[in-house]
């Protein structure tokens, strides 16, 4: 009697274990399939249409009708907009992360944390719409940009969007430092600022690097918020107030009208493939940064 119950629960255990393993394995399968499909479709530009990868990467001449889809303008656009966002949002985010971890009294943290969570929850299309209705007229009326659609607008919107990511990861990085570091520094007579700048920041550097890298990942992959404010111009921007385009905005702008199997469709998938590669590189960087810590 007892033996059969034990046998049944052991059998359930084995079934459960296999089902769970299957689900975990599904994650691996999904990633592999995605990687495979995007690689195949993304390299058709080079293998089927015989367009040179170097020309794709470095030629600013995006001429579909002339069979010459050079994507340099868009790659530059992605990089520029990301740099802008991380330069503006990175230090700000780390500073607020420090604030939350070291300075904020409990009441303030209780107010700030849900606010940050809410900022994360706002859909990117709403950020784009806010940029369109608030920021674009501001830029149009107060800077050299005639229409208001510009790199700067996209950069500002992105900076706000990556803030929550950078803030919470920075805060985590500081929270996971051993308290003896801070106590020792203060005991030696250092002010809080000195402690933060000279002791805590360097010790948390790998965690902060992760925060910045993941902020960059978010910025690189953002599509709609940028598309509504950047102006979609196929040219390198002359200034931060000029319009331009990024890999993501070109994809979302042209994919609906790209015929299946055409050079245009292949070129767009190659751009998506580039984004995938950039994402993979960023992950490896994160792992490298984390390994350095231990």
């Amino acid at each position: 009697m007892i033996g059969s119950i034990a046998r049944r629960s052991h059998r359930n255990e084995r079934i459960a274990l296999n089902v769970i393993r299957l689900c975990a394995g599904f994650v691996i399968l999904a990633m592999a399939v995605i990687l495979l499909y995007l690689t195949i479709e993304g390299t058709k530009t080079f293998f089927v249409d015989h367009f040179s990868p170097l020309a794709f990467l470095f030629s600013p001449d995006y001429d579909i009708d002339g069979n010459h889809p050079g994507a340099a303008v868009f790659i530059a656009g992605t990089l520029l907009v990301t740099v802008f966002a991380i330069v503006v949002g990175g230090p700000f985010g780390i500073a607020v992360g420090v604030f939350l971890s070291e300075i904020a009294p409990h009441r303030m943290a209780q107010l700030l944390k849900p606010a940050i969570e809410l900022l994360v929850g706002i859909p990117s299309v709403v950020y784009g719409w806010l940029g369109l209705t608030l920021l674009v007229p501001l830029i149009r009326d107060h800077t050299s940009s005639p229409s208001g659609f510009s790199l700067a607008g996209a950069g500002i919107v992105l900076a706000i969007m990556i803030l929550p990511t950078v803030i919470s990861l920075s805060e985590d990085a500081f929270n996971s430092l051993p308290p003896t570091l801070k106590e020792g520094s203060l005991a030696l007579g250092a002010t809080r600022l000195q402690t933060i700048v000279r002791v805590l920041l360097p010790s948390a550097s790998s965690g902060l690097a992760v925060a910045l890298i993941l902020g960059i990942a978010r910025a690189v992959g953002e599509t709609l918020a940028i598309q509504l404010v950047i102006g979609n111009a196929d040219a390198f921007p002359n200034s931060i107030f000029s319009p331009t385009a990024t890999l993501t905005t070109v994809i979302v702008g042209e994919m609906p009208s790209a015929t299946e199997g055409s050079l245009q469709e292949h070129a767009l998938f190659s751009m998506a493939f580039m984004l995938l590669l950039i994402a993979m590189v960023l992950i490896l960087l994160v792992r490298f940064a984390l390994r350095k810590r231990t």
């Binding site: 255990e13 274990l17 995007l38 500073a95 809410l118 690189v220």
Partner: protein
């Protein structure tokens, strides 16, 4: 003797200190003020967004707008079917994602031994998490629209969103499981339960409060997802019945509709639809956020007697 407290007490007084120390303390105080300003500016920014959106959009929130049918070329369109589609896709996505991600999370946290398989699962999840949503949308286009020839469907959109949100929900599961004290597991197994019985009857119920909070927060994000749905669920609502139950219907969601209105659409009342839709989206996010906290706490209390 509290070293930290006494050093902090000493360092807040500028009087009677040497010039070098005074400069350092001044810098410290300035920095503190700056940081407070930065943190407050974030709260102010959020408040400004919310107030602005309410100010612009609340006038449009009439029943004919919220429940009405959309218009392609004339003024006066509504967003009823789009809201329906947002919920439909959300529920469908959760139906697929929650079981798989919970199982995978349980495996990683409760069962997996360190080794190649575990590393591969973790790496795959991290990689999936970093893929931009537009790239995932293109993958969905390749597989569901081109390869399976489904054309634009709610199901295709939901499956794409499943892939997109697996890593996030796995992380939610793992963190929730980690919050359950090991003593629970030890006690259960000490009484002779198998590991699966322990997980099912002891660990998961304890973790359910946190899991619910996490799932509802992610549901809020799914509700606002756009890039992955443009190419998989389509840009129009079902032609058969606006509130179509068939998962193969074309399903433009509210978020996609907001984007469509500002890029493709030719209706004359773009501002009305834009402002109204943005506000509705914001309100939904607020509701999801509040429900996540309140619901998670209530569920936890019911099942375990603890607040989280």
């Amino acid at each position: 003797m509290d070293i930290v407290a006494t050093t902090q007490q000493r360092s807040t007084s500028l009087l009677g200190a040497s010039p070098g120390v005074r400069a350092r303390k001044l810098a410290d105080q300035i920095a503190t003020v700056v940081l407070w300003l930065m943190a407050s500016s974030i709260i102010l920014l959020l408040a400004m967004f919310i107030i602005y959106m309410f100010y612009l959009g609340v006038q449009y929130l009439t029943p004919s707008f919220i429940f009405g049918l959309p218009a392609e070329t004339t003024a006066g369109g509504g967003i009823g079917p789009e809201i329906y589609n947002s919920f439909y896709i959300l529920i469908l996505t959760l139906i697929f994602t929650v079981p798989i991600s919970t199982a995978a999370g349980v495996y990683l946290h409760e069962y997996a031994k360190p080794g190649r398989f575990r590393e591969l699962v973790v790496f795959s999840a991290e990689s999936l998490a970093t893929i931009p949503s537009i790239v995932m949308g293109l993958f969905g286009l390749l597989v569901f629209v081109y390869l399976f020839k489904w054309k634009f469907t709610a199901l295709g959109g939901a499956l794409t969103l499943t892939l997109l949100n697996l890593p996030a929900l796995m992380r939610v599961t793992q963190e929730a499981l980690a919050s359950v004290p090991d003593t629970f597991r030890e006690a259960s197994m000490g009484m002779g339960a198998t590991r699966w019985q322990t997980v099912l009857n002891v660990v998961l119920p304890s973790a359910i409060g946190r899991m619910t909070t996490g799932i509802v927060l992610i549901a809020g994000r799914i509700f606002g997802e756009t890039a992955a749905l443009i190419f998989t669920a389509g840009l129009s609502v079902s032609s058969n019945a606006p509130y179509d139950l068939n998962p193969f219907h074309t399903a433009e969601t509210l978020a996609v509709h907001l984007w469509y209105t500002h890029t493709e659409s030719i209706v004359p009342d773009v501002a009305r639809i834009g402002n109204g839709s943005a506000l509705v989206l914001l309100i939904m996010v607020l509701i999801f956020n509040i429900a996540a906290r309140v619901g998670g706490r209530a569920l936890s209390k019911r099942l375990t007697g603890r607040p989280t």
